[in-house]
Symmetry: C2
Subunit: 209 residues, 2 copies
């Protein structure tokens, strides 16, 4: 918790504190998408949000504090991993969500990654968010095992499978800056499923990875 405790009149849901936070985080999102991390200032955010600068400084302290709260807010959004009935379908749907978030213009997700290269606070918050999302997605692999889609003689390392399925989308779009390929989400998903069926992510039952 980086914020000081709000006073009691502020604590009701939808009260002033919550409203100010929404305004400020909306402004951070917009500034980040428009001008990137380098253009993000406390003053710019306060002006765009229509909130007193003193309030922004008091609650968020600095740009790093804004980024951490923004990433925290992303983690508060109710998100459910896809459930299409097959592992390939689930991973394809997941990759399509990722591809959409990376290719929308301006991309808030890409701006956040850029920011995390320059703010250790933002990097830690982002790593935590990603870790939570991958943990949520492990159920895709559990369901696939229950459906008999994956080898059952050995445990499948869900995290490694999920990384293999999603990494090509991030690599192509964020680092290699490839032109978005509409077939990429399914191709990367299908390759990971074939590798998984062939035992690429199997680990000995004694729990080693």
């Amino acid at each position: 918790m980086t914020n000081p405790p709000p006073n009691t009149t502020d604590r009701r849901p939808g009260g002033r504190t919550a409203r100010v936070r929404t305004q400020v985080l909306d402004a951070v999102r917009a500034e980040l998408a428009e001008s990137g991390h380098e253009g993000l200032t406390m003053e710019g955010v306060a002006t765009r949000a229509g909130v007193h600068r003193a309030t922004v400084y008091r609650r968020w302290r600095d740009v790093g504090g804004l980024l951490v709260d923004l990433i925290g807010a992303a983690g508060e959004i109710a998100w459910e991993p896809p459930d299409t009935g097959s592992l390939r379908g689930d991973l394809t749907a997941l990759n399509r969500e990722i591809q959409a978030s990376l290719t929308e213009q301006p991309s808030f997700a890409v701006a956040l990654m850029a920011a995390s290269f320059h703010s250790e606070q933002a990097a830690r918050a982002q790593t935590q968010l990603w870790d939570d999302r991958y943990a949520q997605c492990e159920v895709l692999v559990e369901r696939a095992v229950r459906r008999g889609e994956l080898p059952t003689a050995q445990r499948t390392d869900a995290r490694n499978l999920l990384i293999a399925a999603t990494a090509p989308v991030y690599h192509q779009l964020v680092l290699l800056r490839a032109v978005p390929d509409p077939d990429l989400p399914e191709r990367a998903a299908a390759a990971a499923v074939l590798a998984a069926k062939a035992g690429a992510f199997s680990v000995p039952e004694d729990g080693g990875t």
Copy 2:
């Protein structure tokens, strides 16, 4: 070519122009690794290189020009893809090189990626360098086909296989900031080989991807 033509006395290999370029690019590399893209200035580079500021401004114009030339210089280094006798061995060796470049402290490769989020010029130069390196690595897949390691009924898309093999290393280390896992290079390589053997990167002979 961003540099003006040097005068004739400068054109001999190892002459003053080449020496100045080496000094300046060494300084850029050191500044980038130490303080990142945000700390990179023409003045800082000139001072560290022991070269007149006027020379640095005349030849490289701005920080973007320095980054482009630096990435160009990386492309001039003779680099050969690994040749271990098996596709899995080759991809593992390639991933180990990538992992080493991303985990050394300070990492010039990571600093360059960070810079490319903020400089369109640097981003284009980096994309070109990566494209060249992946093109060079396609021979790994051609050799594997000749050795009978991959299905021959359909052509294997070498680039997609290479991306699948290497992407998890970049994703884990650059974006997810995972603790370096010494098994990751081989695990990612092995998963891509299993997927390739199962036909994940096969394309119809009519050339579609």
